[in-house]
Symmetry: none
Subunit: 355 residues, 2 copies
Amino acid sequence: MSTQEQVTNILHEIMHPEINRSLVELGMIKAIVTQNDTVTVTLALPFKEVPIRDELVNSIRETVAKTDSHLKVVVKLAEMNQQERAFFMAASEGGPKRAQSAKQIDHVVAVMSGKGGVGKSSVSALLAVALQRRGKQVGLLDADITGPSIPKMFGLRKPPPAGESGILPVKTRTGIKVMSINLLLQYEEQAVIWRGPLISSAIKQFWGDVLWGSLNYLIVDLPPGTSDASLTIMQSIPLSGVVLVTSPQDLAGMVVCKAAQMARKMKAPILGLIENMSYLHCPECGERIEVFGSSQAMQTATKMGVPLLGQLPLDPELAHYCDTGTIEVYSIEFFQSIADRIDAAVPTNKKTLFF
Amino acid sequence: MSTQEQVTNILHEIMHPEINRSLVELGMIKAIVTQNDTVTVTLALPFKEVPIRDELVNSIRETVAKTDSHLKVVVKLAEMNQQERAFFMAASEGGPKRAQSAKQIDHVVAVMSGKGGVGKSSVSALLAVALQRRGKQVGLLDADITGPSIPKMFGLRKPPPAGESGILPVKTRTGIKVMSINLLLQYEEQAVIWRGPLISSAIKQFWGDVLWGSLNYLIVDLPPGTSDASLTIMQSIPLSGVVLVTSPQDLAGMVVCKAAQMARKMKAPILGLIENMSYLHCPECGERIEVFGSSQAMQTATKMGVPLLGQLPLDPELAHYCDTGTIEVYSIEFFQSIADRIDAAVPTNKKTLFF
């Protein structure tokens, strides 16, 4: 058997530690080149900064060296292109059920709006912070793959560390566990130009492959719309409930009704409606300004037959805290009662989920 | 009739043997040059090595020779660029049923933001209104399938009438032609719970099956994100350019950079950036309030290397006009100069598209 063949064979034995399929099956071995006493293996990674990179490199080096102790093993790294990544995702989903360590989540609450820019991500973040302050263990899953906002709000930049059997979420200053696509990108402004199936599989991985550990609440920040991301969340994650967010505009009210309908169709219980950006106090004269028109919240909530959980002002300070990654130090007294109502509204029989 | 005209006319008769539309309709005749007794026809192929190449060349030669037996016919070959190929693909998908009455569109301009709720739809609508007031013929394609806002802004509710060979767009009070999924729904709050492929095919139909007629501008209002809808528009519609919309938040700036990257990757020219919701004047004391933090527009535009087209205030009146369907009577003097800049920025060689 040639060295080339030997190396190829032995590479089949290296299993991806998180997915339980071999690197070869996952399309991660891009090339094997043997020249004199040197063999160069090109390892293709789905994202450049995957946390288990070094682990994989070492394991290739050690395994290949076993074939011949005189062999010099060089591991070159490459980043998968979109197609290779799609293949990798598909292959990793197909694999045998993941050997995960237990994770226990009492309640998964999705924050949804239909329309973009009504403050879904700020509400998700504030809800996580408020529940955390009430002594709950909280996780925050950013399901907005093409426009992720959560890491920036909490000032998170480091890639998620690798655990023994999956990816660990990144912890905020106060201990909220966060997972977002932006934590996996090389730079935060990188575009993620994916069609629906890839979006869905990334979200499934955030749910299935992230070692959330023990949580009272996992808050899911959904992207706008009622397409792939929302569908995947509602179809593959057992939700305790959905919190709807709207703004005073009639337009937003119309679109949030679409979101409510979707939640009903997918049998996800609606916990209530929050109206964001309801009004603004002029910092100069104190005048209450209805920036987006007069509130429609009560009518919208009644029409949908759901409780109105609260109305939030438009606060220029909040934008500042979000932009500087310090949302955790923002004073959220006004939000605490909303969080309490949500905490009271989730079904009392905990649906603790074990994986 | 000049030789040039004769040749152009007769070329309309040559059907693509596989697609059943004429080579002219498919955008395959790139140039016709007549000089003395020689006519040179440039045939653009989607890919250099298409198997029916010779067949096409012969059929052009024979057909053109019919106009005048003394004519020397030269067929030059060219390969389509990405945009021409996208157009070809879109045209060929439509198949024979669309051998419709001509539609002629000079410029397609997509309005994009990445992040939701920064006012993409209002900018699209205002741009359409402003161009219309300058005497242009304008259409407005609402590509936001799960959160469509356009019909409400213009107070449109009637379903689009059927034409002889396709759907007719609905006309606004001032004559802007509009197509949106919400015009096709039984009631406007109906949810459209579709995965990506359905979203894409709806958008393709809005482009291919709607009888837009003769337009100077077709404005496309994209949904947030860089997934299916944006991909489909950029791959299958030949865009004259993209207008990016952002808000003063750092967060929005980050996401609009993702959108810009996508446009670049898809070779869609960026016409410029508009910052929306830049500031608000207190109706009581006139204080200028920076609701979403201080403007980042200039930095963002510079970073992306695109012109800053303008900064728009947050105007509570605008929300009112949008909600009451009367955006056309909103005073938009401040927007007129932006529209003029866009009008000046689109490539001067009209890309009039015939179908």
